[in-house]
Chain length 386, copies 2
């Protein structure tokens, strides 16, 4: 068993088509909730109609993620840029108060994911040995990765793997899979995330937890490569993977769920999730640190923390719990602020920001933490290389 | 890079709750198609009603997989055991002519998959280091694997990986993933397939290709373990993995698709698929054989062929194309006959049958072939060990 460090490098992100301020998104979501109920209830008077508009605007503004945590988010879908419900692709709310069912959402996902792969590999001549496609927001085969390989006639050189439906932490199992392929002789593994979270909104879901989810998640597209140090390793900056660890917290199987439902994917989120994370995190970090020959105290003192923003307050809560300085979670907060929660694409965006930040010195340790159904806590320790 | 052979062993299958003769299944599907149209068309007279019943019975009997290729199939869903449409869980066809949309299908999948994991690990005291859960027929998190680990408090010892949405060939990428984990120091990787294909029927889909799909696919539940030879390797019989190979055939991205749609997952299948497979297979087999230090001619002369029955005639066509003897595909035909196409669970059922067949001598080579969207051809060469 050789264990030379895996390097993550060549991060490239794409901006989904539409960039919107969080204030505009909150207004759109409030209007969508109101329209869904107007379609269902068919209010007779304009007073009743306006009462619904006021009611849902108040709810969304109260429970939705406010602009002090998230400033802007990106989305691939044109629907979010206007409220002409008849002109929507998915959210034709006058006819479908939940938006269209799964089929049309899948077709749109397939188109956008396909274009993203085309763009990520535009001008690339040499087929990558392995592409791991990561998503929990669209299940369409052939996938964008498979279509690319079929079109380019890369089929004899490129192996496609789907790392689907693992949730927000999926970059970390994808890296472990990649490490296995490198260990077995592949020179390079590309990991490509195409997450279209906003596609799965259902404006009939008015519960506070659903309003948090709807106003938190965003679309994200990012690609990077894993390779072995010293083995055709990249000359450019990279993150070395020192350790990874993943645990499922006992008796938490009902804390969070993510499944294919009638109108896209549906999430449930118990209020106990932050407690479960806080309770389990210390011992988890001890074990993660230990597997890299470090201690939790060393990490909390000097590492940067790339924390997946599973909820709007989770970065703050973890930073407080571990006694971190604001600079240690600056990149995590910046990605949440500018992009929202892009599910599995989020941590790679934080890594990219840290890698490109010249103020972060080579040698800096980066603790990565993400969470998902299970309840799964997944982590890694990375080190910025020269 | 060490490459000691991976051993597959400890195959255990579960029978889904209901075992039905193919003749009874064909009658049920014919009745379901008729009821879907009766619900939609609301025929005024009993003559019109009976005409619909006759029409769809004729179509299903003409295009459905006949009892000479498939004798029986298994299904987890009670619905298929009667035609009292009001009493159905999914196929309440008087109200939902396509059956219920995705949510209820996901919930049922979650229940059955959860029970399957409980049963597979009943009485097992030691947590497995890794569980790879393979499926393309149900996307529910926490998965059965995650629930098991959360309930048993195995979270610190057992890593769960989802190998989802790769289609019928998914056992082979799962084995490559497992090989990576073994290579990186895990002593054992369990691979568990829970495929509930019959859950995704839509009786409004009357096209011949859809009738083939609906009358071909079945449910399958199987578990096995991968370990390294000589490294706590099992004493019992095993299959050694000599080589695996996977290719996407150029310009075939529209030949086959599998995606989340409005009423469960939907498959499309072009008539050109058998041509694509035949055209690509010879060169693929050459490369697969070569990577095990063998030739295609050697394999065709003496190996057994575990062929995924992607269509009712594909085993015959490949056997004819490669000039194989009937005994070389006997196990593949027997699994198709007794179980139908269980998607990714099918090849492991064929492997189990070969492993347990005392007439198959130790040392026998087994060529495995399976197909899926991409168009992907996936293969392996295994050897039965003592």
């Amino acid at each position: 068993m050789t264990q030379s460090p895996i390097l993550l490098s060549d991060f490239q992100s794409q901006l989904p088509k539409h960039h919107s301020g969080q204030d505009a998104i909150l207004e759109w979501i409030a209007a969508a909730h109101a329209q869904a109920e107007i379609t269902l209830q068919q209010p007779a008077s304009s007073e009743e109609r306006e009462a619904l508009v006021r009611k849902y605007r108040k709810l969304v503004m109260r429970f939705g993620c406010s602009t002090d945590r998230i400033r802007s988010r990106n989305s691939a879908l044109d629907d979010f840029t206007h409220t002409d419900w008849d002109r929507m692709r998915i959210f034709q709310l006058k006819e479908y108060p939940s938006g269209k069912p799964c089929g049309e959402r899948s077709r749109f996902y397939g188109e956008v994911s396909g274009q993203a792969f085309e763009q990520f590999y535009e001008g690339e001549v040499d087929p990558p040995p392995v592409i791991i496609h990561v998503t929990c927001t669209g299940y369409v085969s052939p996938s964008g990765a498979q279509r690319l390989v079929a079109k380019r006639d890369w089929g004899r050189s490129t192996e496609v793997i789907h790392a689907y439906h693992m949730g927000c932490y999926a970059s970390l199992p994808a890296i472990r899979m990649a490490a296995g392929f490198l260990e077995r002789g592949k020179a390079r593994v590309d990991i490509v995330h195409t997450e279209l979270c906003t596609l799965h909104m259902d404006p009939r879901q008015h519960l506070p937890e659903q309003l948090v989810v709807q106003t938190l998640f965003a679309d994200g597209l990012i690609r990077y490569s894993a390779s072995r140090a010293g083995d055709g390793a990249p000359a450019q900056q990279a993150l070395a993977v020192l350790a990874t660890r993943e645990e499922i917290v006992p008796n938490t199987e009902d804390a969070m769920s993510w499944m294919v439902s009638d109108f896209g994917m549906q999430m449930t989120l118990s209020r106990k999730v932050p407690d479960h994370i806080r309770n389990g995190l210390g011992a988890f970090l001890d074990r993660l640190a230990d597997s890299a020959g470090l201690t939790q105290a060393q990490l909390c003192e000097k590492a940067l923390f790339a924390i997946h923003p599973g909820g709007p307050r989770i970065i703050d809560e973890i930073a407080h719990h571990l006694g971190l300085h604001p600079e240690q979670v600056q990149a995590s907060n910046a990605i949440l602020r500018d992009y929202g929660n892009m599910s599995s694409a989020t941590l790679p965006h934080v890594w990219k920001a840290i890698l490109e930040d010249e103020a972060v010195q080579p040698g800096t340790l980066i603790v990565s933490l993400a969470f998902g159904p299970g309840l799964t806590i997944s982590g890694a320790i990375l080190r910025k290389s020269a």
